[in-house]
Amino acid sequence: MGGKARTGDLGFRLGTGVFALALVLLVVAIGYELTRQSMLSIEKFGWNFWRTTTWDPVTGDFGALPFLWGTLYSSFLALVLSTPVALGIAVFISELAPGRLRQPLVFLTELLAAIPSIVYGLWGIFVLVPVVRAMETAAPDWLRQIPLFSGPPLGVGMLAAGVILAIMIVPFTASVAREVLKSVPIAQREGAYALGATRFEAIRAALYYARTGIIGAVMLGFGRALGETMAVTMVIGNTPRISASLFAPQYTMAAVLANEFTEADTDLYLNALIEIGLVLFIITLFINGLSRLLIWSMARPAKALGVASTVPAEESAA
């Protein structure tokens, strides 16, 4: 190879590498900047910021536990509601649906992911919340005795937030789970059928084989729910309190940022809000990183070797 060609190659590698490196540095810069901008709050409150529940901009007393609680509660609720449906969809599209139906169904579920959060929120305020309110009003008294369903029927609150989040994360979990199921070797199913398994038993075996990736898919949906902002802000009721009740209006980390960021009139207030953003960043980073590792451990061999090669994927997975 000539000297000129080598220099050209090196220049190419450096030229594209700079942009690639910029992408990595961007993630680092986000973490650095958020930390730097929340120093006031970190120094003043320390861990108490995440252990106390007072949120009073007037006296400058900030405790963010209710927001953390609301974020985790609503996302967990969404996870519980969406997981069975998302896995059902993934199995239906990849294993059961006739070939003709497959593409349109993929398209429709992806459309569910493409609708903007603000549109879900608008629909949430004017359609979902009244429906939830009617359901809450209709709830019998004995049910209301249970802490999970206590409180006045407002419509806005944890239940509406969980439902709308569930709708929004279903397509994410479903599409990743579908991808993961695709990486399960055909021989796995054929073997099950050959042993006389029913469809359910064969698919259960495939799901079990793909369990790592499936858990990754579910976690990825959870990560999405944690950071979802507009739709949740519009239906959760925006009240900072810790309540187990599905009927109670609550608050999330993303929602408090959306509502109060432009109102922050002191540096400490702004720093407290940015610290909430920082922790949201760290939590989603952790959840996403973990879920990617789980998914990659399943699906990457097939993808990296190109679409046509299912056989090498089988070997490397075995």
């Binding site: 594209t16 239906f92 903007p116 960021f261």
Partner: protein, 277 residues
């Protein structure tokens, strides 16, 4: 026998799941279209917002604003995204490529509101000024990982023989990539960019405290600027019936943008698949 019943129940549950997911989709689309159609008119596209109580008014300034901010975002994201995508596919085995892939997927999972906080810290706070540029930065950061990953995946689909042919003719690697490999994948990459644009045009959270909002027409990039999504948000949480109607009209426009882009992309990928097979 019980095994067969169990199996049938399972198949039924899976089919039901699809229906359960499609019901909200149908409901959302139904309400957006039925409420939006009634509220939308020519004024919506040609006028700026009017105070509550006054008839007419529209979101013309917000539509222009959304175009400007997404345009700014693309200016940042398309070069960075495509170049990092090229790096990831060309040096697929290298340690940096693995790191970039992970960083891209991580960035893709960072909540949009957090990206907004970051853009506020670097592009609003130092100048004490909300601006279209800050909004463009936030949206650009969100587009980068989508474009990078799409580019990488599509470049890996280009047959190795095409690259080898170019190299055999004495082309440098850069030349082979930019005159043979990238053009072969270009239709797909453009599809990916269109999809990224559609997704990003619907973002609200990263704009709330970067580009903020503005009731007037502006093309000054250093000033706050209106966007469809932030305007919908402002109207949706207001107590006025008129403004709610405007919000639905805005939602209809947004959903139409997303629908048209998705259909175009689907059509384009189909053509690509037919061509390559």
């Amino acid at each position: 026998m019980t095994r067969k019943i169990l199996s049938a129940l399972f198949v039924g549950f899976c089919a039901l799941s699809v229906l359960i997911a499609l019901v909200p989709l149908a409901f959302v689309l139904f309400f957006v279209i039925s409420q939006g159609i009634g509220a939308i008119n020519l004024d919506f596209f040609t006028h700026r917002p009017v105070p509550v109580g006054e008839a007419g008014g529209g979101m013309a300034n917000a539509i222009v604003g959304t175009l400007i901010i997404t345009g700014l975002g693309s200016l940042l994201a398309i070069p960075v995204g495509i170049m990092s995508g090229v790096y990831m596919s060309e040096y697929a085995g290298s340690r940096l490529a693995g790191g970039v892939r992970f960083a891209a997927d991580t960035l893709n999972g960072v909540p949009s509101i957090v990206i907004g906080v970051f853009a506020y810290g670097v592009a609003v706070l130092p100048f004490r000024q909300f601006s279209a540029l800050a909004g463009g930065l936030a949206l650009g950061i969100m587009m980068i990982p989508i474009i990078a990953r799409t580019t990488e995946e599509l470049l890996l689909l280009v047959p190795q023989t095409m690259r080898e042919g170019a190299l055999a003719l004495g082309a440098t690697r850069a030349r082979a990539v930019f005159t043979v490999v990238v053009p072969a994948a270009l239709p797909g990459i453009i599809t990916g960019i269109v999809l990224a644009l559609a997704r990003i045009a619907g973002e609200t959270a990263p704009l709330l405290f970067t580009s903020f909002n503005n009731p007037f027409f502006t093309t000054d990039l250093t000033q706050p600027i209106a966007s469809l999504t932030v305007q919908i948000w402002a109207y949706a949480i207001s107590p006025y019936e008129d403004w709610h109607r405007q919000a639905w009209a805005g939602a209809l426009v947004l959903v139409m943008i997303v629908l048209v882009c998705s259909l175009l992309a689907r059509f384009a990928t189909r053509r690509l698949e037919q061509l390559s097979s």
